[in-house]
Symmetry: C2
Subunit: 192 residues, 2 copies
């Protein structure tokens, strides 16, 4: 699988999340690592790309982000719906073996001191831009994307190819309570 992970030019990195998928946020600090599901992740700027994520105060991943100043945003596939749901409902505070019990596994990206989740379709390495008021008041975190990668079986030449790729790579979009939609058919406004 990892042979399919290819770098994405930073000026195209925002396209990995522009269509609004539910994402997974992972971080590491002092040998503690964790990953959580985040429905509220959003683009903020183009080049260099910036993004926002909402991280609840009850989430241990938030503490890891605050302490390390960095995190990974990854885009899970429809094959990972069950995993994504577990990672959004279990807390490392309650279950020290959350990662084992949820089936999450990480890999290393040389030069990046962060845990990258296996089996996703895209990964964005993020550097926190501290905005203490927004973090405290709204749980909103701002970050700059410093590097990005994608699985070239579904994202290549700077764009998604969901419509011609194996359906197992489709991104998932959470509504509430474990109800997701996969991304669907392509439509180009220029063809109208």
């Amino acid at each position: 699988m990892q042979s399919h992970i290819q770098p994405v030019d930073l000026d195209r990195g925002g396209r990995l999340i522009n269509h609004g998928p539910t994402v997974l946020v992972s971080a590491r600090h002092d040998d503690v690592e964790n990953v959580m599901s985040v429905a509220w992740c959003c683009g903020l700027d183009f080049d260099p790309p910036k993004l926002t994520v909402v991280l609840d105060k009850t989430a241990q991943t938030r503490t890891l982000v605050e302490n390390s100043g960095r995190f990974v945003v990854q885009v899970p596939t429809i094959e990972q719906v069950g995993l994504t749901n577990k990672l959004g409902t279990m807390s490392l505070y309650d279950d020290r073996d959350k990662l084992v019990h949820s089936g999450a596994s990480f890999f290393e990206m040389p030069g990046y001191e962060m845990p990258f989740l296996t089996g996703c379709s895209a990964w964005l390495a993020c550097s926190l831009i501290p905005e203490p008021h927004m973090q405290e008041e709204y749980d909103l975190f701002v970050a700059e994307v410093t590097a990005a990668w994608a699985d070239d079986r579904v994202f290549r030449n700077g764009r998604w190819h969901f419509e011609t790729s194996d359906p197992k790579f489709r991104s998932i979009h959470h509504v509430a309570g474990g109800q997701f939609y996969a991304i669907g058919e392509a439509r180009n406004a220029k063809d109208l």
Copy 2:
């Protein structure tokens, strides 16, 4: 069409945008009204629901939002892909007849002094929460949702029904340069 517009309970209002659709932001001030496409709109809190939108400094809609302190976030359908693309590429600053030329038409919601775009699947009336630093530095606007409505042919009983509704109601998710994806098949993590 408007007979299908039903109020949505505020504690379910966030579900209208949780799945990450491209939205249209409309506002009115001093008899000037406008609407623009926004790919970067995101949930921020549940009850009362809050959201964020990114409004570029070149957009006249931004000025209307800043001056009136309120705006509507609406969810366009796949039938509105062409309209959505036009509303994201034309500026009222360049074309005073943008609304006529794009084919946008508004309706009134009694009690709400804002323009609501005809033909969408959901509407969220928003009240700006001023965060001057975020607005200036990141073009990021925070708002509280004060009321919400949806077309009951695709959203009812507090949830989307894309999978059993006419496909013309599917939400659209912009990637870049007029390339969109419609929302696709449903998948419930509880069924796995």
